[in-house]
């Protein structure tokens, strides 16, 4: 399977970022790690958006992934990072397989509201779970990767980059596969999709479960990097943030989610420092401007300029 041009670029970008990490300050490495981990959850939102659904509850899987890592280390003595991540993915997939049966029957705001309700249910349960630290959450135990215990943030940085790259390559192919294309067709007109002999519920179901699994990876990596989990991960404003980043990037290409997530992280870091009480206002205004002038996200900027040059 030869790499496509954009895939080669993504591999090159990941390697370059990984090497650049060797001479970057640790705050930038931490920020990039979190941005890439978050971009994975955003990719889940983007996948759903491609099929015309907006989820205001992707924080559910973000939180499950994070808590699986935390609980795996604390209660079940799992130390290996990959096994911890796998725990989160399995838990998330199992829950998504049940919820998906229900959620694929809903569209538009009902889908948005129901996904939000489910993530708020998890939030409500976690807030009342005292042995899981209630609203404070708890810290993640020390972890290892094939027996190697990373001493600085570099370990989780490279791990996140590697997983991010693999997921990006996989999703790039998925978007071009028949199921991935059927998702876009469902957004345009789902009744016609049924006429063509494709089961829309099956397509939406697979898409939803896959988005959940990838969201859990993002949550797991965030927990490994931040070393702490709390119920806030399932709160609906976090899910709103994912929707924001997804809209910022647009559904044009996998890489857009990573770029948007990085822009978001940088803007937020500086905005919180200089304008602590009005950075949300800036976010809101930017969101309105995107909806008005860049309905397909920042990726459409690249597209337009490329068309202009050729």
């Amino acid at each position: 399977m030869p790499l496509q041009k954009s895939e080669t670029l993504m591999v090159a970008a990941a390697v370059a970022i990984g090497l650049a990490g060797l001479m970057s300050p640790s705050w930038l490495i931490f920020l990039t790690t979190l941005a890439v981990a978050k971009a994975l959850v955003v990719l889940g939102v983007v996948m759903l958006m491609r099929s015309g659904l907006v989820s205001f509850g992707q924080g559910l899987f973000f939180c499950i992934g994070g808590y699986a890592v935390g609980m795996g280390g604390r209660f079940w003595g799992i130390q290996d990072a990959l096994v911890l991540i796998l725990t989160g993915v399995v838990a998330s997939t199992a829950i998504a397989m049940i919820l998906g049966l229900l959620l694929t029957r809903y569209r538009e705001i009902f889908f948005a509201m129901l996904t939000m309700a489910f993530s708020m249910i998890l939030f409500g349960v976690l807030v009342k779970s005292h042995n899981l630290g209630s609203t404070d959450g708890f810290s993640v135990m020390e972890w290892s990767l094939f027996g190697w215990i990373p001493q600085s943030g570099m370990g989780v940085f490279w791990l996140t980059l590697a997983i991010g790259l693999l997921i990006a390559l996989f999703l790039n192919r998925f978007f071009q596969s028949s199921i991935g294309l059927a998702c876009e067709a469902i957004r345009e007109n789902e009744v016609r999709v049924e006429y063509m002999g494709i089961s829309r519920r099956q397509v939406l179901y697979i898409n939803y479960v896959l988005a959940a699994a990838i969201g859990a990876m993002g949550g797991s990596l965030t927990a490994l990097a931040a070393g702490h989990v709390d119920p806030e991960m399932a709160y609906w404003t976090i899910s709103g943030e994912f929707v924001f980043i997804a809209l910022l990037g647009g559904t044009g290409h996998v890489a857009a989610a990573f770029i948007a997530s990085m822009i978001f992280a940088l803007v937020r870091t500086y905005a919180v420092e200089f304008l602590p009480n009005s950075w949300q206002m800036i976010l809101g205004i930017v969101l309105l401007l995107i909806i008005l002038f860049l309905p397909k996200g920042i990726w459409s900027l690249f597209r337009r300029s490329r068309r202009a040059t050729t």
Partner: protein
């Protein structure tokens, strides 16, 4: 038996508050097909306006309860109508005709803007307006004590519900609004100025949200973030009852209110859980809510 009475009283008081908060949301959705995420922020705006005005009134030596209520109502009405007008004319007007789901994200952006606007205007220190609540005293029902203020909220909620029903079902303006709910294009063809009706509806909905906030201000401490907590509750209520239906909002408020009261008195650890579980359960069996109408499929 005592627990049952306590559940019923608490449940209905909570339900009346939920209805106050949710009524504006359902009015706006019913007519405009916009699920207004910024509704919680309008509630917070009303709460801030009322709390600072009442604080100012009592700090100035005022002690008349009725005057305090007049100030509270005046502030909430004014800020609700004004912000409703500004939001509709300034932002929503530019976005009409887009997907319902995109409008949801637009109102999410408005929520983000309003949350910080309030922080800039009122700072992050809490505001208190407990005086009217304390002045209303308490009422004894057998062995249970209920605050007079809560009973007033209950009455006000019923009054607003009846008022809305009368407005939509018995007045000329209500008839026009119902025609827009049924078919926007046909009513436009019949000469209805839909845009003006949208402005009026949004102002009424926003004012209802602000009034709910103003009424709540004496019960709570007004801090940043109260709007964000309230909006998900209001969503749960209107989605349970059926979006866009006043009766539905009332039914949803009673169901959610009683469910929460039952949970608090019997198994307090499930308080937050139960509200959303009720909503999810209703939606599983009636996808459009209890009083919602199914819409035609697009081909």
């Amino acid at each position: 038996m005592l627990t049952v009475w306590a559940i019923l009283i608490d449940g209905f008081i909570y339900a009346s508050w939920l209805f106050l908060v949710a009524a504006g949301l359902t009015v706006i959705y019913g007519v405009m097909r916009i699920l207004n995420m910024a509704h919680g922020s309008l509630y917070a705006l009303g709460a801030y306006a009322a709390a600072s005005a009442i604080g100012w009134y009592y700090a100035g030596g005022g002690s008349q309860l009725w005057l305090a209520f007049a100030i509270l109502a005046g502030c909430a009405l004014a800020i609700g109508a004004l912000s409703g007008l500004l939001i509709e004319r300034g932002i929503l007007r530019l976005m009409y005709g887009r997907d319902e789901i995109l409008m949801l994200i637009v109102t999410f952006a408005i929520l983000l803007i309003l949350e910080d606007a309030m922080k800039l205007l009122w700072g992050t220190t809490p505001y208190y307006a407990w005086q009217p609540y304390a002045a209303m005293g308490r009422v004894d029902i057998d062995v249970l004590t209920v605050s007079g203020y809560d009973i007033m909220v209950l009455c006000l909620s019923i009054a607003i519900g009846l008022g809305l029903w009368f407005w939509l079902e018995r007045t000329n303006l209500g008839k026009i609004l119902r025609s827009i709910i049924h078919d926007r294009e046909v009513s436009e063809a019949m000469g209805v100025n839909v845009r003006r009706m949208f402005t009026i509806t949004f102002m009424v909905g926003a004012t209802l949200g602000a009034v709910a906030g103003g009424i709540t201000a004496p019960i709570i401490s007004v801090v940043p973030g109260i709007g964000i907590e309230v909006i998900v509750l209001a969503f749960a209520v209107v989605v349970t009852g059926g979006l866009g239906s006043i009766t539905g909002a009332a039914a949803g408020a009673i169901i959610v209110g009683l469910a929460r009261a039952t949970s608090i008195h019997t198994m307090p650890q499930f308080e937050l859980f139960i509200i959303y579980a009720v909503m999810a359960a209703v939606l599983i069996f009636r996808p459009n809510g209890l009083f919602g109408q199914a819409t035609a499929r697009k081909i």
